[in-house]
Symmetry: C2
Subunit: 212 residues, 2 copies
């Protein structure tokens, strides 16, 4: 089974803070993400800075695009992003127009998806979804469980590359053992640590333990 | 019937371009919106600039927030926004946490809403929704019609302040005659004109014609 990617979600309030963390942990991860919070704060400059810092890494733009798909995708692409998220409740027309500009479109799953819609996404060529435990849902006490894993597996069986995110830490990686996860996305579990580089390496080691 | 507000959606790719248009048309409108595209491009600086330019206007931050409600709301508020959008597919927990920080939360209606969810929004104190013809849906040939007006009226009857947006122009305002629309949001119908100030004034005159 292919080793899942490790993606760091940079959701700092300032580009300076994000760059500090990226400078430390960026070399160790596979994908560097400009999180929505950071992008709303610092704009596309955040993508440009990370693109220049990591010319050989995959850069993700977490716009959660809901409309004006081609414009938002073009802007993300121009700034240097390889991947861009769209929200599940966006229309198919929006997703299609985003996909026409930037190939690496990922649908972020909140509360507006079902299996029929997922088939529609596939029909327009979308290959990636992000299964998402909402930060606020986690704060409200929801946790990763069998229900989540079953959903992830079903998306994988449909042929999607599935990224998982939301409240992941070193201890939760093993819950996914045996599941061909495409990418683990970790935010504060890495960025909130004293030594983000060491924590990122711990994540990579833990992932390698189960996906050799 | 109260005159609906006129809101200009600034969705330029650069803050310079948005500021140019705002300088011309801003004094005439009731609400100045930092559109999603602009905010993703220029970051919160866009809100700060428009807040300083128009200290007495309502400033809207069109984040279409899907997660991390309180952080995104705090950032919008700190930059000077009075209103902030959340996406319909956000969880109730996310909406609630946004609302706890910034009172003027508006739910933007894409494809993830129904009347039951709308009642839940009301239960947590949300008073505003934005009924939205997607730009991409409009490009795909969908237009304003009775179906849309019926939805707007039902939201109004429930007690919501309803903003309408998507492909509005001078000629479509009259379609809403008799409906207590809270706000008309116009983007390129104003920003794309040679004389944005004159067009904004034409909008205001047209609105006054039907909502005296």
């Amino acid at each position: 089974m292919t080793k899942p990617n490790l993606q760091i979600a940079l959701d700092q309030n300032t580009l300076a803070d994000a760059a500090r963390i990226a400078h430390l942990a960026g070399p160790i991860v596979d994908i560097v993400e400009v999180g929505t919070i950071l992008e709303l704060q610092a704009g596309q400059q955040a993508i440009r800075v990370l693109r220049e810092m990591f010319p050989d890494k995959i850069i993700a733009s977490d716009t959660k695009c809901a409309d004006a798909g081609s414009t938002v995708a073009q802007n993300s692409k121009d700034a240097g992003a390889d991947l861009m998220t769209v929200i599940d409740s966006a229309t198919i027309a929006t997703m299609k127009s985003a996909k026409s500009v930037l190939d690496g479109i990922q649908v972020e799953l909140y509360s507006a998806w079902n299996w029929e819609r997922a088939k529609e996404w596939q029909k327009i060529g979308i290959e990636q979804v992000i299964y998402h435990q909402s930060r606020d849902a986690l704060l409200a006490g929801e946790v990763w469980g069998k229900k989540d894993l079953d959903i992830v597996k079903r998306f994988v069986d449909m042929g999607f590359k599935v990224s998982v995110t939301g409240g992941l830490n070193i201890d939760t990686i093993k819950l996914f053992k045996g599941v061909p996860v495409y990418t683990f996305i970790a935010g504060r579990a890495i960025t909130g640590q004293k030594d983000p580089a060491k924590t990122a390496q711990d994540f990579q080691n833990e992932i390698k333990k189960y996906w050799a």
